[in-house]
């Protein structure tokens, strides 16, 4: 495929590395005169990491080109991945310009972490093919991509975006509402807030807090998100037993943390339990726990080697 990356900064270059490593032709649009040398320097830094992940990447190869003229840069693109400045007026003008010069079937994706597709596409004639594909940095290493359609994005464009990212070995998830911070950054913000509060109150040092997260929650969540972990945290009774044991304590803890409680009503719990069973019910708790424990040991081994270098 022909993929045009708009913006040759760190995120654009990381995307470009990933696209090239998966055999796409990449054209980078950036008006900075030194963009080619900056991008190639960064690609050379990334190259050995991609190799370790089993992908070759040639920073000097014919698959990579640069084009300072926007109409020419997007003319042949099957996919455009925008990584420009986080300014609404810039993005609105950009997309109107892009759609005037790209193929009618081109898929238009923005890496924005904060400006929604509904806002970005306001001046477009064909907003149905424009949506957000927000990576967690750096995109060449971290699997998550948050796919966030706008109000006027078509389901077909959502499907194509999901397939495009999955084809790159990413783990795309689709958000059904355009909410500030999307999913990962909101969860991260909740965590940073409590971390700052704990250090500021003198409960723990910065370094000990980092150790706590690395050597418990990080390890746990790398093998399963909060709902899967709760399902296993309930023992043989799964997520239902988890709520029975911990729902009250959790809500009390939220109060103590001065967090407005999210009420775990019977209805909320039932809805969560149903989704957990649908997602993970195919395996028994014992099977899921055994997979988790195996992964945890593999992670502990993996972390050992580089940690020794520190």
């Amino acid at each position: 495929m022909n993929v045009t990356v708009i913006g040759g900064g760190l995120i654009g270059t990381s995307w470009a590395a990933l696209f090239l490593a998966h055999g796409h032709r990449v054209c980078i649009h950036d008006v900075a005169p030194d963009v080619a040398s900056r991008v190639r320097t960064e690609l050379r830094r990334i190259q050995p990491f991609m190799l370790q992940l089993g992908h070759s990447l040639d920073p000097e190869g014919p698959g990579l080109s640069f084009e300072a003229d926007l109409p020419r840069a997007v003319g042949q693109a099957d996919v455009v991945q925008e990584c420009g400045p986080e300014r609404l007026t810039f993005k609105q003008a950009l997309w109107a310009n892009v759609e005037a010069h790209c193929k009618p079937e081109a898929l238009l994706l923005s890496s924005s972490s904060g400006i929604t597709a509904s806002m970005q596409s306001r001046k477009m004639k064909s907003p149905q093919r424009m949506l957000v594909g927000h990576p967690f940095n750096p995109p060449h290493l971290v699997p998550l991509v948050e796919v966030v359609p706008g109000k006027r994005t078509s389901e077909d464009a959502v499907r194509r975006a999901r397939e495009f990212y999955a084809g790159l070995g990413k783990r795309p998830i689709v958000l059904r509402k355009e909410i500030p911070g999307f999913v990962a950054n909101r969860i991260q913000a909740a965590m940073i807030r409590e971390s700052v509060a704990l250090v500021r109150q003198g409960v723990v040092s910065v370094e000990d807090l980092d150790i706590a997260v690395q050597s418990s929650l990080g390890l746990r969540w790398a093998t399963g998100g909060p709902f899967k972990s709760a399902h296993l945290g309930g023992g043989a009774g799964g997520i239902q037993a988890f709520f029975q044991q911990f729902a009250t304590g959790l809500q009390l803890l939220w109060l103590h943390m001065r967090l407005r409680p999210v009420l775990l009503t019977g209805r909320t719990k039932q809805a969560l339990i149903a989704q957990v069973k649908q997602s993970y019910g195919g395996l028994s708790i014992d099977e899921l726990a055994s997979i988790r424990d195996q992964q945890q040991i593999a992670l502990l081994h993996a972390l050992q080697a580089p940690t020794d270098k520190e």
Copy 2:
């Protein structure tokens, strides 16, 4: 060392596995008549995991004994690790009984996640040697132990607890205030709250939320906690640049998430920056980032194999 584990449930058995694997003699005190067979069955399940971590564990060996009589169970103990029911009256009576029959230098540790050492030790004559050593489950696999002294715990006991857990390959951190949920469970609670809110608002499914956490935040935090990650998230400028770029957005996001903001005042930021520099300033941002990227790749490789089995 002679380590007495009080309570032969899942946590007590997991601790026992870890103690045995590190060459300690373990006596389990539990009044249930079938405790020995239950514990040995669970130890056989744990055995192959410990082997993978490089430790042998013999569920039938002479290092493990059972004693239903408390005075006899603690008489020779160098360390007592309590894993009994989470009831204040039980624990207060227990410690008074333990200290009447154990050696004067025995170190007394409670696995409690919620009842503080200050409360537990209220009926003790020598509360200076009693404190909380709270594991993140299961203790034989997860490195974190939260060491939480009570108001009357001596610094010497804190030091001995830290050394004892470090000697087991754990990563102990010391809390300087007895706060509900300690550190890891508070951070986890903040995260679960936002996760439940996002699913309940229809932003994302349970399964996609789990994928989001696993394939971004989990992976990231397994290689570095929130402050180290912020330090690297700021690019060449480190934690200072992170605050310049993100402090305002973070505080706005907290408001949108209906979280009472923890104000990132100049003074708060300066204190955090100073601690981050003290903890991580020995290496450049480039060096730290390179270690993180290497670890991330190692983790991705480690997760690949077992995930394929699913």
